[in-house]
């Protein structure tokens, strides 16, 4: 297999599956079920995950004239994104049944979005990152507005689109200034240029603009304003996807840019990230305290979690990457799980919205309530869940790097976070004050959704009981990123000549 094909195998599989689904959708009769297309998408995602796994045997690979670098870091995020997409597809398989006639396009968009996210994590050329970011963003803008005819869904889609394009402009301007100051948009050449010829102020400005652009995408405060409205209006399975997978990809990009592109500017960006982390944690947790709507509350909670994750970035170099990778995985497992549970509880119409609507859920649907409760405990960071070790590694990395105050603020914030998660948890298990008719006791969880819930719950539990394996992989990917094998012109020429 030519190296160009081998390095992009997961993306190629996803794109082809997406195109097949897109072409098959109009051929199906309007009234027939779209489930076969969903199963096809699931198969494609599984195949893409296997392809990423297959890539592990080849070490670090470069292709497309040094645009793509497949290493254990990118494979880690490829597998994570494939897993998130798999769970989302499983949980939304029955979601659109009988409600939307265009579910096939939903599956195709999910796969295309995943392609964009994967391209972001494995490219070392900022223009390629930008294209990947746009692919993933545009597909999520559309998916946010998939429940047509509902004002909140349209609002979510338009808000996300406008603010997202604004953020992309910042990111692009940052790339342009990086090019202007170092003469290259390639991450390793930028790092080289910064130590030799670059104009410091201009490089700093480019760094700031890139951080702002990514900050929007990961909804870090003060760039978080879109998050609550979008998460409230978008369909629950889509929120599960877009609160984790694009964020994981954006965090991976930020890790690559900061740690291997701008390592010589570490003290300056670390200060900036410090401020972002503190603001995100505080704004997220205090905002979540005020919310009555469950999805809005989880939106603020995701802002806070972006803050915890940013704490890891201040622990330059090695501890930071490993703990950030682990936290991304743990956060993805519990957050996708929580939104899968909410999808099952609220249904397509999302009648159950506020915390009051979730009162006494345990009486009506005990298993679902238990599973949701477990994810909430993990989001708090209770031991024996993935959330605990995620926070543990992040804060210990910050302490090792000598950032005591940041760790203290983070721990205080974790304390505040207990209140609102426990409030929802208490509501699940409390007696109903009045008859609660918002939750239907008779609907059952379908088999694919049950598989999705089991997968996420088991992943959260495993990350909490035996975190060493994932941490080992994260550590390994950290080694690659901190001590990168720079794309030697000679080595790259051989791979490209072999491909011709």
């Amino acid at each position: 297999m030519s190296p160009n094909v081998l390095t992009l195998l997961p993306e190629i599989i996803l794109t082809l599956t997406g195109v097949i689904i897109m072409l098959a959708e109009p051929l199906l009769p309007a009234t027939s079920s779209r489930k076969p297309l969903g199963w096809l998408a699931i198969l494609g995602t599984l195949a893409a995950g296997l392809a990423s796994w297959y890539q592990t045997g080849f070490g670090t690979m470069h292709s497309f004239f040094g645009t793509i670098q497949v290493d254990s870091f990118s494979i880690f995020f490829h597998l994570l994104i494939a897993a998130i997409v798999l769970v989302t597809l499983l949980s939304s398989l029955d979601y659109f049944e009988g409600h939307a006639t265009h579910a096939g396009e939903y599956f195709a968009l999910t796969l295309f979005g995943a392609t964009g996210m994967m391209l972001m994590t494995c490219s070392v050329e900022l223009l390629m990152v930008f294209i990947g970011l746009e692919i993933s963003s545009i597909s999520t803008y559309i998916m946010a507005g998939f429940r047509k005819g509902q004002a909140s869904a349209t609002e979510a889609s338009i808000k996300y689109f406008l603010l997202g394009s604004f953020a992309t402009a910042f990111f692009l301007y940052g790339i342009a200034l990086a090019f202007g100051s170092t003469g290259s948009t390639r991450i390793d050449s930028i790092s080289l240029g910064l130590t030799t010829t670059a104009t410091p102020t201009l490089a700093l400005l480019s760094l700031g603009l890139i951080i702002i652009g990514i900050g929007f995408k990961v909804s870090a405060a003060p760039f978080h304003v879109w998050t609550p409205d979008v998460y409230q209006g978008a369909p629950a399975p889509v929120v599960g996807l877009m609160s984790t997978a694009p964020k994981a990809a954006a965090f991976a990009v930020l890790l690559r840019i900061l740690f291997s592109g701008y390592p010589s500017y570490e003290p300056r960006w670390a200060a900036l990230i410090w401020v972002l982390a503190v603001l995100s944690m505080t704004v997220g947790n205090l905002g979540a305290l005020m919310q009555r709507d469950v999805k809005r509350m989880l939106a603020y909670s995701s802002i806070a979690h972006a803050g915890y994750l940013l704490v890891a970035y201040t622990a330059f170099p090695a501890d930071g990457i490993a703990s950030a990778c682990f936290y991304t995985a743990a956060y993805a497992a519990m957050n996708v799980g929580a939104f899968t549970a909410i999808t099952q509880i609220a249904g397509y119409q999302e009648r159950a919205r506020t915390i009051d609507d979730y009162t006494a859920l345990a009486l009506k649907r005990p298993v679902l309530a238990a599973v949701l409760g477990f994810f909430l405990l993990s989001l708090i960071g209770i031991p024996f869940t993935g959330g605990f070790f995620g926070k543990f590694y992040v804060f210990s990395a910050a302490l090792h790097a000598g950032r005591v105050w940041l760790a203290v603020i983070g721990l205080l914030n974790s304390g505040i976070a207990c209140f609102y998660y426990l409030r929802l948890l208490a509501a699940l298990y409390s007696r109903p004050v009045t008859e609660n008719d918002r939750v239907d006791a008779h609907t059952t969880v379908t088999v694919p959704a049950a598989i999705a819930l089991t997968l996420t719950a088991v992943a959260t539990l495993l990350l909490g009981i035996a975190p060493n394996r994932i941490l080992g992989i994260a550590q390994h990917s950290a080694d690659v990123t901190v001590h990168p094998n720079p794309a030697q012109p000679g080595a790259d020429a051989t791979t490209t000549s072999a491909s011709r």
């Binding site: 497309f64 004239f65 545009i138 507005g145 670059a198 104009t199 102020t201």
Partner: protein, 168 residues
């Protein structure tokens, strides 16, 4: 000569952009956008980027603006209604925008001497000619982004279909 061209068309571009925001009728806004695009094309051309200038005229002023005007005509959009806007926009947005503008101008002005010292030689001096250089970048160094843009466009088309389709 170049400075004169820069001043004339730079000012024209800024004036067009301001007019674009101030005009109430969508058609007038679209037409002032044409002015911006054309002035930018002249600026590119004066920098020696003839291909980029031509592409700018053909793609932006030609294709995209025609599309804009068509959409405005088809929708039969009338004059826009003015709302007061949100208060946050005035209290945070205006100072924020001013601050970013001042920061950027400050950086560019203080570093004006440093510009040109950056090692852009491979991009500027080795230029056999413009087209050869561009095709080198487009079809070799940045081949993958160029190709993957097709997926981006596909996603956008798919999105347009999804959003425009009537629910049955």
């Amino acid at each position: 000569m170049q400075l004169a061209l820069f001043i004339i068309f730079g000012l024209l571009a800024v004036a067009g952009a301001i007019n674009f925001l101030l005009q109430r009728h969508p058609i007038n806004s679209a037409l002032s956008l044409v002015v911006v695009m054309m002035s930018l094309a002249v600026l590119y051309w004066s920098l020696g980027a003839e291909f980029l200038a031509a592409a700018q005229v053909i793609v932006y002023s030609g294709a995209i603006m025609v599309l804009f005007v068509f959409v405005v005509m088809l929708l039969n959009a009338g004059e826009e209604e003015r709302t007061h806007g949100s208060r946050a926009a005035y209290f945070a947005g205006v100072p924020g925008a001013t601050a970013i503008f001042c920061l950027l101008s400050f950086v560019f002005l203080t570093n004006s001497k440093a510009f040109g010292s950056t090692d852009l030689t491979s991009h500027l001096t080795h230029t056999v000619n413009n087209i050869a250089e561009i095709s080198q970048v487009l079809f070799k160094d940045l081949l993958l982004p160029f190709e993957v843009t097709s997926i981006l466009i596909l996603v956008a088309i798919l999105g347009a279909v999804v959003l425009a389709r009537k629910e049955q």
